[in-house]
Symmetry: C3
Subunit: 304 residues, 3 copies
């Protein structure tokens, strides 16, 4: 089994396999007794920088007794080997799984084609970031108790933020989901996602202003509002657009709603708001650990 | 317990807790039987380059059966997350301690404020480097048999060398210590340290010439004399200043004195002198291992 | 025992000690039961980039239960410590072996002089790369069943490719070896190697054209043909020179010959040929793991 695309997971698999296992990982970890990956070896191959994804997987692996090493070709002066040859060599060295971040869409699929061991897509350009989406979905279920009948606002550069793309694919698998995409018009969701949601009969709308949406949703999923593209898009757009949660927006939100953010965050979610229990981004980060422990133990035991 | 500032340690704690434990670590290690940190995980977060500090802690941790991973934001193209958020996320990932090197004074204290796990200050700009000071003090005690009634020369850029700053704080806690600060006048010790030593009734003097001091001390603590600031300072100062130990200076020293250096060294301590048993800098490096093993095992067991 | 120079190994040691042990490692590994290096620590010190060598040793070490850490001075803004001092400090930290890649010939020998622990030469400038040569020899023996009575073509920049240099030294120790060096005239083998082969009565010739040699050899050992030096050399030379294996060249080769390549490869060995069983470069990479497992276990147990 490879983990390549958020679309590969069924709602049933999430609810009956992955999430219960993540809950188990949480318990096992709290018991301090978890060496099920002893002797197993994860290799990360990153063509783009990553911090949280690396550390989260690294922690998941080492907390279960496994080891981690890696290579970051983007740090090298020149990249003298094709992706395929790298994967072939890593297969020779007998790692138990390869965690791949690639700078272009489709990198994970190319790697899976020549790999002798499971490939985990840790982001491929503007494409997918399926394990982030899995932990996001797990967080929503933990925070709100359900993954159906939800209004979810997805906010930011929706053309290029792969986490949003992957999460929308996951949420679309659950009943009565209403997605509210909030972005500058020049950074709207991709046609491909729009078509898929339409074909799947998922309710969704698109808007430029978060403040109009925030009061009516169960989840606000923020992404970085200070990237170059976002800054540029806002400069040319109307003044009443907003892509951040400040004290006023938080005040307007439902008392049991949650604000998620894949981190790192910028001005779109100021740390002065952290004491509000609806700001769930660090609980979300902690959940990442348990979901990745679950995924790694599934891969290592050959289940799927 | 965090390790943030050399001033936090009492003379009693050093003599009754840390140093005996470091001795035990030395014995345990020589017996080749030491897995007391098995399953424990150290994370290093370095905003400035470090070699010896990282490798010394890494060795201490792995020799005791623990594991180490880290992040070096200074290597990244851009640093997209605040120190506080980084520490919050690392706390989510459940490391057992965070070893922090920061480029500005006060970084370790800021981190400790938001951290759920112990923070170890591995240097914060020109501020402190407390674990280096602890190993320096341990080395002096091992080499000379005592930590009181000593003449110690501290040499170099005393404004910016945090190891010297931290060591002076530690030595000031012991009786009958006489500190001799040797530096260009433009790179003298900081007013803060001068005030504290005065308040604590510690005898000290300041001079520009090591050769006048070397014959009369028990310890010469050298630091780098080839930094830009030092080179610049010497260019504008009198010709009879010296900040290095050469064969003549060594000849002038007491037969049972020692020369320490935190390394890396430059022309201020030429390797041609290494065969003289008074050159203790590599024994000092080895001691670093045992002191850090002691510190890590104290942190991991929650003692202090 | 240090591993410094391909010339240090006898044919007997290879055949009676190293190769059988590598075979054992292959079996042990396939049994999934191999913690003989538990608690042992390898340190890599790289003054030049390396990917395959690092990952291969890292895998060998961790598959046998040991741990690995390292330092890459070439990544640092400035290198502030001499090679000798670095090795002295690493000796203090009690690693079990130091894997050294240095940018100048003789680095490994300098390190061995001051090291308290075994040094493994992982390449010293244009000098040697002995462990690559050992795995190359092991691969030839596995692929062809023998290490004597062989025609071997060594192809590429023979002045600077240290793997070729080291392999020629190893092969020269076996009877009835005929070496065919194929390179642009400006990048021919070094006088030193030529003299040694002559003194050892090893048959060899030198040519500029691989296509004339390929049909008549048991082994074609390719190296990178797209380096700056190679590209430059070919630009000024005759058109009928070739340093690559394409479909036509492969067609001309003996049915039981093999093509080796230390990787990474460029246009000199296109991946479209990989399905031909004579292309052995990934089996060669896998063998690297077993040979390095054997070397590490020999060093750790103090045998040689």
């Amino acid at each position: 089994m490879h983990i390549l695309d958020a679309r590969q997971f069924s709602a049933e698999w999430l609810q009956d396999t992955l999430f219960p296992l993540a809950d188990t990982m949480r318990s096992i970890h709290q018991l301090g007794d978890s060496r099920v990956l002893s002797g197993k070896r994860l290799f990360y191959l990153f063509y783009q920088a990553s911090t949280r994804t690396r550390l989260s997987f690294e922690s998941a692996m080492t907390l279960l007794g496994g080891t981690v090493s890696g290579l970051e070709p983007y740090r090298e002066e020149r990249d003298d080997e094709s992706l395929e040859d790298r994967i072939r060599v890593l297969s020779c060295y007998d790692y138990d799984a390869i965690l791949l971040r690639y700078h272009e869409e489709g990198g994970a699929a190319r790697a899976a084609k020549v790999s002798g061991v499971p490939v985990i897509n840790a982001g491929d350009g503007p494409g997918q970031h399926p394990t982030q989406a899995l932990l996001d979905a797990y967080t929503i279920r933990r925070e709100l108790g359900r993954l159906e009948d939800l209004d979810v606002a997805l906010v930011g550069d929706l053309t290029h933020e792969r986490t949003v793309n992957s999460l929308a694919h996951i949420l679309a698998k659950f009943p009565n989901i209403r997605l509210h995409f909030v972005s500058p018009t020049t950074l709207a969701i991709r046609a491909e996602l729009r078509d898929e949601l339409t074909a799947a009969n998922v309710e969704f709308d698109e808007t430029v202003d978060l403040s109009a949406v925030a009061p009516n949703v169960d989840v606000v999923y923020l992404t970085r509002a200070h990237t170059e593209r976002m800054v540029m898009a806002q400069r040319y757009n109307a003044a009443d657009e907003t892509y951040r949660i400040d004290a006023a927006a938080l005040e307007s939100m439902r008392p049991n709603a949650v604000v998620l953010h894949p981190l790192p965050r910028g001005p779109e979610l100021d740390s002065s708001l952290d004491s509000d229990p609806r700001i769930a981004c660090f609980r979300q980060a902690a959940n990442g650990l348990f979901v990745r422990m679950a995924l790694l133990s599934l891969l290592a035991t050959g289940q799927s």
